[in-house]
Symmetry: none
Subunit: 212 residues, 4 copies
């Protein structure tokens, strides 16, 4: 997402909305790319503003700090993934279908936004304490929503209940968060194929023992 390639100013007076937004968005885009590539601490504010074609002053006009940039990146991803999960989880499809879709979707969206996944993996602990707490809280909400589906299946007997649901959730999201460390675009498997494989592995792993 957020692909929005380089709209140059053009009509200065008219259409103010988009161009106005362009600077913060460009900053976020470039910051994402750079944080993913070099890590948060190894990326200087100077590099970010240069990549975005603005000056430092402009950046500090829109963002309070470098931390803020990272936080905004997280917040957006979190927001989107949460929205997606809620959509799927609360549909009235059968549980197995909902869980499969949720699992596959989060893989696909992680791959579509590989940079964000990478940053999540590597840079979260570099946020200041307060923001880190906020991110963790939001992530927990996400996990809880996901876990609820598993617990639902454990209660109904559809899923094995000899393993704590949160161990299963952490097991699965570990895999998901690590996609950035090995998945390379242009490989032989598409994002959706990986998503389906991962969803299958998860669903099969939690079949009740003795059931096919």
């Amino acid at each position: 997402m957020t692909r929005s390639t380089a709209r140059k100013t053009g009509d200065v007076a008219a259409a103010p909305g988009e161009d106005q937004a362009a600077v913060p968005r460009r900053l976020l885009q470039q910051a994402t790319k750079l944080f993913a590539k070099k890590g948060f601490d190894r990326t200087s504010v100077q590099e970010i503003v240069e990549a975005a074609g603005v000056t430092k002053g402009a950046m500090y006009h829109y963002f309070g700090s470098k931390d803020d940039l990272l936080y905004e990146i997280y917040a957006r991803v979190l927001r989107e993934q949460m929205k997606q999960l809620e959509g799927v989880a609360s549909s009235d499809a059968p549980l197995r279908e909902r869980l499969t879709a949720a699992a596959s979707d989060v893989v696909v969206s992680s791959i579509d936004n590989l940079d964000d996944s990478t940053i999540f993996l590597q840079s979260m602990h570099q946020l200041n304490a307060e923001k880190q707490k906020a991110v963790r809280a939001e992530r927990r909400r996400y996990h809880e929503r996901f876990r609820a589906m598993i617990e639902e299946g454990q209660a109904s007997g559809e899923f094995r209940d000899d393993k704590p649901a949160d161990v299963i959730v952490d097991f699965f999201f570990g895999s998901v968060h690590h996609l950035g460390s090995w998945y390379r675009r242009g490989g032989s498997l598409s994002a959706r194929q990986i998503g389906d494989h991962y969803a299958d592995l998860l669903l099969d792993a939690i079949r009740p023992p003795g059931r096919s």
Copy 2:
């Protein structure tokens, strides 16, 4: 100008604890602790040497750079896990037992060295290119050894073969590497219990479809 293994002046008398430990070992210990807690980039050499009770000069006497410290930490973990895997994988137990043991063991050892796992997760990309390559190469060897067991089972029909073995390996090791981001000592589950759960989940995930 590194290495200098084991000086041991002959049990000097008093203070048997940390102070006794050789300087390089103390440095590695403290660096591991700090890197895990604050991240590689956020940890200064000054902090490390203070924690280890030596001077900067001493550190640079034994290690060529801060990078080296990180590299040595990786190298040790990698070496140990590889040794462990080789022991288990080449035993003459049945395949499922071998894979179960290998999976459970790597979880247990990751938990026993939680700091190392955390560092692995967060800091590998901060190594310089050359060392990063060396670490990746070693890690690949490890994955390949693990994957060989899965392929063995796929060939014999013991494991499903509708998923590429390396997808399965990455799926599983994603989970393993993430232990550091959620497991807290003193929780309700022991390292071995987590290990067994993870091994079960893996083994069940790769049962051939339609088999219990």
Copy 3:
């Protein structure tokens, strides 16, 4: 991020002397003085910025490195001497007059900027490879322009041709570059007197044998 020529806030009022001078110029001035006095390696960036009354950050705002400072010093001298030489060499005075003037002028300008001469002598090899190459290239152009005059006279029979022109050039510029190591202001001879002596010595040294 260098250059920033001439700010001049509008003659602020008091203190017309050094304080007024733009930051980059003050830095260059003090660096020249210090490099000449103590050598490039023995001069710390700290000393330079203190002498210039600015902070380290300010210096790195204008110059990419300590090397850059040295390079700029060279570049300015080289530029000026080249301009001077070109003016003299391409006039339509007789060859001997042109060469005499060029020789005398380069001595006078070396003495007028004794610090620069000293630095040239002592510090060029401390520049990084790339910049050193640039300086050498420029210096070679200078020497070639000078040599061309000598070759012109060798061709016309005005100067001896039993010695390679470039040996003569190196012979003479060795003397010139060494001025900084012995000439002291306030001695009995003025810069112009030295210049005339040196020019005479050169011109007489290259008279054709058997001619007064």
Copy 4:
């Protein structure tokens, strides 16, 4: 000189004299090479002792400091050139022959020991004050001996006396000291050829005006 290539220990007990001396000599040799190549400040004691195949302790056993090393290099060159000059200058050959020989010889010996020339040029000011004074004093004695010959000729009318003798001396030795900055072994001219050219240029430069 000081070529003395690598006599390996061999007979340990016997012939103690030479091997004993070998360590300091090797240190001096390697230091000379390194100082010439990288400059005094850019050369670390570590590099020197490694090149010489000894340890730091050994070096500090023989030399009080890094400065000492540099000083010894100077002292040796100075001693040798002075001896050579005295030999030539006090012979009973005609003055012009003596001066020609002295000039040519100092060029040849500078080229034969190009490293020492380079060091002289670049590193003298990096000695501590006291040693620097000693070196300057010795060099002055050398110049004075050389100047005496010129003054002798000025008195007798053999050489021009419209230029101060010391200006002539500085003029000439500037050229000599700069040999290291342009002369490359393997060029088209031998050391002796350069020496003869330089001596000719000097002698012709100081002919009385109007005389061939």
